[in-house]
Structures are given as C-alpha cells and as structure tokens.
C-alpha cells in the first residue's frame, strides 16, 4: 500500500479517527490503537472549573499519532481563526480540521465561510484540512487557497448513510491535486472500502466505531476495510457489471475493414 503524504508528512494508515461519542476514554484509546490510525481528531471545550475530570488528551497522545484539532462549534471564519489559534496553543500543532457549521441540526458545512477561513489560516501558517460539501468546484477553490487536503462529506454527519455523494466524490477525486479524505456519513466498513476503491486518499470515521456494540472490534473491521479498499484501488479494479465481448458484427466500423 502506498503511503499517504499530507503537507510533507507521511502516513501508513489511511484511516482517520474521530474521538466523539465513545462510552469511555479507555474504550476510545483501545479502539484507536486497534484501528492503527495515525491521525486522530480532538475538539476543544471550556474547562469546567468546578468539576475537574479525566484528561482525554493523555489517551490519544502517542508518537505515531498526529493530533488533528477541529474547530467544531464555530459558526463563521472569524470564530474559526480564533479557535485555530487556541488549538495551536493548547495542542502544540498547526494542523487543523477546519469545520464551520452554523446549522445546529445537520451540521452541514458553510462553504463560503470555509473558503474564507482557509485563505486566512493558510496565511497564518496552519496546515488546513477543511471539512466541506462534496462540491467539486469548491474543492478546487479550497485547494487553490492552500488547503492541505479536502474532506468532502459522504452524507450528513452522524447519519451512517454511506456515500450518498458518490458521483461528486468521483469528480473531486479525479480533479484534486491534494489528498481527498471522505469525511462524514461512513457508517460501515463496506462504505469505507467503497470510498477507498473510488480512489479516496483516506477516510475519517467516528460515529460508526464509537457507537458500535464493540467499538474495538469495529475499529479492527474498519482498519481491514480501508486496507482492502485501498489495495483494490492500487491493484486496478476489474469490471463487475459489464462484460464486453469482442464484437464480430460491426455496424459502426464496417468502413474501416
């Protein structure tokens, strides 16, 4: 399997993990280890001064893991820049999953603010991985603005509905000059494999693992699915539907005989 390179850094695993919704930090840590993931997202929250709690960071800090702070909760580009600066300070990394979703119901990304924020953050020296709509033109614009990857959604976040945007993802993958990470909507290992077979560079999975009956075994299943899908892509997929025969009758090409 080819290594994945983002902003000059190389990754052996093409499975990125989100850390939300796990029943416990211990379970999350085990799931991450089992998944083999080398890129793990982390959110930020205000410290509750009265109720000190377990520090989740220690469960995900590991030399092989690139922390990917997200900007979840911000509603526009200005807030995103602030959140990014806080994240860089708190976690000591300039990597950033940029997500701007002003809509609290479906958490759909705001394309216009995302592009604006990408432009600003790149200038401020961040490695920006924007979560975005599966919009091929937007993805080119983000790339031109200096995004290190694009992270188009497969389906609304948390829905586990799979690659509802497949036709657009295919165009994005074909056109992109940066890695394409399919984010959001991947609900099962088969979805992850499908994205990898399409030629996605990586997938980001959270809910599907976190809420599984056994998250650790599900993390293992995703690891295998992502590897299988990527291997299939690199090996050159055979046709599954069409079975072309060499054609003896030649109505269109008789003039060439």
């Amino acid at each position: 399997m080819e290594k994945l390179t983002i902003a000059g850094k190389s990754f052996s695993s093409r499975l990125f993990l989100g850390t939300g919704k796990f029943r416990s930090n211990e379970l999350m840590e085990q799931a991450i280890r089992t998944s083999g993931s080398e890129m793990v997202t982390v959110a930020m929250k205000r410290i509750d001064l009265e109720n000190p709690e377990d520090d989740m960071l220690r469960h995900i800090t590991h030399e092989s893991i690139q922390l990917l702070p997200n900007t979840s909760g911000v509603r526009d580009a200005e807030e995103a820049v602030f959140a990014a600066q806080m994240a860089r300070e708190a976690f000591g990394t300039n990597w950033l999953k940029l997500e701007i979703h002003p809509d609290p119901r479906y958490l759909l990304p705001d394309s216009i603010e995302t592009l604006k924020a990408t432009e600003k953050l790149v200038k401020l020296g961040f490695v920006v991985l924007p979560y975005c709509q599966a919009d091929p033109v937007l993805c080119k614009r983000l790339e031109e603005a200096g995004a290190a990857t694009v992270m188009p959604l497969g389906a609304p976040i948390g829905t586990n509905r799979g690659l509802r945007t497949k036709d657009f993802l295919q165009i994005i993958i074909e056109q992109a000059g940066v890695p394409v990470v399919v984010d959001a909507g991947i609900g099962s290992p088969s979805h992850a494999a499908e994205a990898m077979e399409l030629g996605a560079s990586a997938v980001l999975v959270n809910t599907a693992i976190a809420i599984a009956a056994d998250p650790v075994r599900m993390a293992n299943a995703f690891r295998q699915a992502v590897e299988a899908g990527r291997e299939a892509y690199e090996a050159g997929l055979g046709s599954v539907s069409a079975n072309f025969e060499a054609n003896a009758s030649s109505p269109l090409t008789a003039f060439l005989q």
């Binding site: 074909e174 000059g177 046709s239 072309f244 025969e245 054609n247 030649s250 269109l252 090409t253 060439l256």
Partner: protein, 377 residues
Amino acid sequence: MFSEVLEKIDWDATTEAIYAKSDADVRRALAKNHLDVEDFMALISPAAEPYLETMAQLSYRYTRERFGNTMQIFIPLYITNSCTNSCVYCGFHVSNPMKRTILTEEEMVNEYKAIKKLGPFENLLIVTGENPVKAGVPYIARSLDLARPYFSNLKIEVMPLSVEEYEELTHHGMNGVICFQETYHKANYNIYHPRGMKSNFEWRVNGFDRMGQAGVHSIGMGVLVGLEKEWRTDITMMAYHLRYLQKHYWKTKYSFNFPRMRPSENGGFQPNVVMSDRELAQVTFATRIFDHDVDISYSTRESASFRNHMARLGVTTMSAESKTDPGGYYSYPQALEQFHVSDERKTGEVAAALRALGIEPVWKDWDQSFDELTCRK
C-alpha cells in the same frame, strides 16, 4: 510546470507497458466511467483492436450524451508563412527558398470578407509561422482586432508565448489557443526542430501551463503523428498532459488533434510511420472513452469520406474548405500550402453531409461580447 512531470515518465517503459496491455486490461477500461491514463493506454494498444466496434459504440454514446447531435465548424486563416524555424517536416521551413508572405491589414480584411462568403463561419483560427520580429504579438493582436467585426470566436495557432503575451491577446478578443507539441520525445524533438526558437523543448511544452496561467478559455493540443514510430507512446504522453492541465487549469476547455502525416510524393520529409484510418479511429474512440468532455478536432487533412464516417463517432469539431497558405481565400489563391488538404468539399457540402447524418453544424456557440469584461480588465 509539465516538463517536470514529463521527466518522470519513462518513454521506453511506457511503450513497453502499452504493448503489454492484455484483453483483461481493455475490458476493465471499457467498463469504467472514470478512466486513468493506464486505461487509455489499454484502449490504444493492439490488445484493444478486437474491441473496435464496442469502442465505436461507446464513443458514439458518450459523444451524443455530452455534445448532442452537433459539430462545431471552424475555418483557419494563415496570415503569414514567414518563419524562422527549421522544422524538418514543414513546408514553411526557414531554408525553403519560397516566397514569404505577411498579409497586410487590407489583405487580412479581404480574407475575412472572402471567408464570410464561403459560409456562415463565426469560429476563426488565425495561424502564423514564428517570426517575432516581423509578425510578432502586435501583428497578431492587429489581426484579431480586424477580425472581431466579422467573427464571434477567435483562436490562434502561433508560436508559444509568455503569460503576459497570452493575456495581452485575450484583450484583443483571443478566446483560444491551439499549439501542437508535435512530439513529447525530447531527444527526438531536438532532431526535428534543430534550430530557431522552436528548438527549445521546455519552452514549448510549458507553453500550455502559461496559457492556463493566463486564463485562456480553450487550449488545443496535438501530436504530429508520423514523427515518432511509437505514436501510441506520444499520444499517451499527451493524455498525461491533458490530465495534468485539467487538474491545474480546471476552468479551461481542452481539445485533441491527431494530425497525421502522409507519405510525401515530391521528395520532401518522409514520415517515420504512417497511421492507418483504423488506428486513427481507434485513438479517437479511446480518447472519447477516456475523457467524455474533451473536444476532438478533425481538419481537412482527413478525407471527406473518413470525416463523414467519424463525424458521429467521437469527433466534435471540424474545419471546412480550408486553405493552408497565407491569403489563400482571396489575395494569393495559388500559394504553397503548409500541408495538403484532402477534403476539398465546399463549406455547404460539408454542412449538408453532416445534416444528412443527423448532425447540426454549429457555426457559433460563443460571442466575444461574453469576453468584454475580460477585455476591459
């Protein structure tokens, strides 16, 4: 720049890979909707020959899906055959002791008027040799200015220019550029183009990047089939080039040309290889299956009968009644041609033949007033 990408693609290994393509590779390519260059190599390889009819049917289908039942029609005008290059295969070669013509402004206008009498042409391709001193960018700009009252869409086929020069010409109404790389084989390129400005391979091959950077709307590419014995490899390099350009300059439209050389009857340059009709058809089908959107252009180098047959099967742009000598429509009707025209039909005959095939000739699909904003900038 594409020259850096090209350096990493080994010519001989690519040739070997094309000949190693198998039946299974061809089937896989035919089944895909989004093909990569490896698939394209399979489709132009000998392994795909038994699938020619299947490829024709797919090419027919994709072309109709994307372009409808239409054919863009254009006409070229050579405004000068003055040239400082020594391309060994070209009639306008600098040491060829022929009379050189640089059309005056009055002559240009006479040509434009004469073209409008041949048919309702709105797409004009202005062609020059390479003589930056006597027929450089200001001269080309002037030809565009004078053409604008007569034509809606102006393209140029001239020497590679700088980004600034391309930008400058868009301000004069230039909407597209055609430039043939001739060959992507660098070492041999230097043999075919021993002297003159054209001998700089990188300047030419990176010209397409400069067009893209200048925001040129439409870029035409071409390999001169007949130079390299392994024309399949050359065309594969063009496919890599297309994918590269599409990624970097994604707002631009691209077209492919496959000018093929014929054996010379009067002792001129003899092509190293002659591509058959069947091979050209295969490459045309493969191109359409590889890229459903790329424009495929056939000039009057091709015979009337071949153009008629291929009109439904992938070709989306054709010229008609072309003269390939400067001033050939009015001022100097007998001058020496750059290449021999096979299809000598009148414009009306070409259009009627297309209509009989159920294809509507499109004379105009762009008006330069759309570009006025750009021009003002």
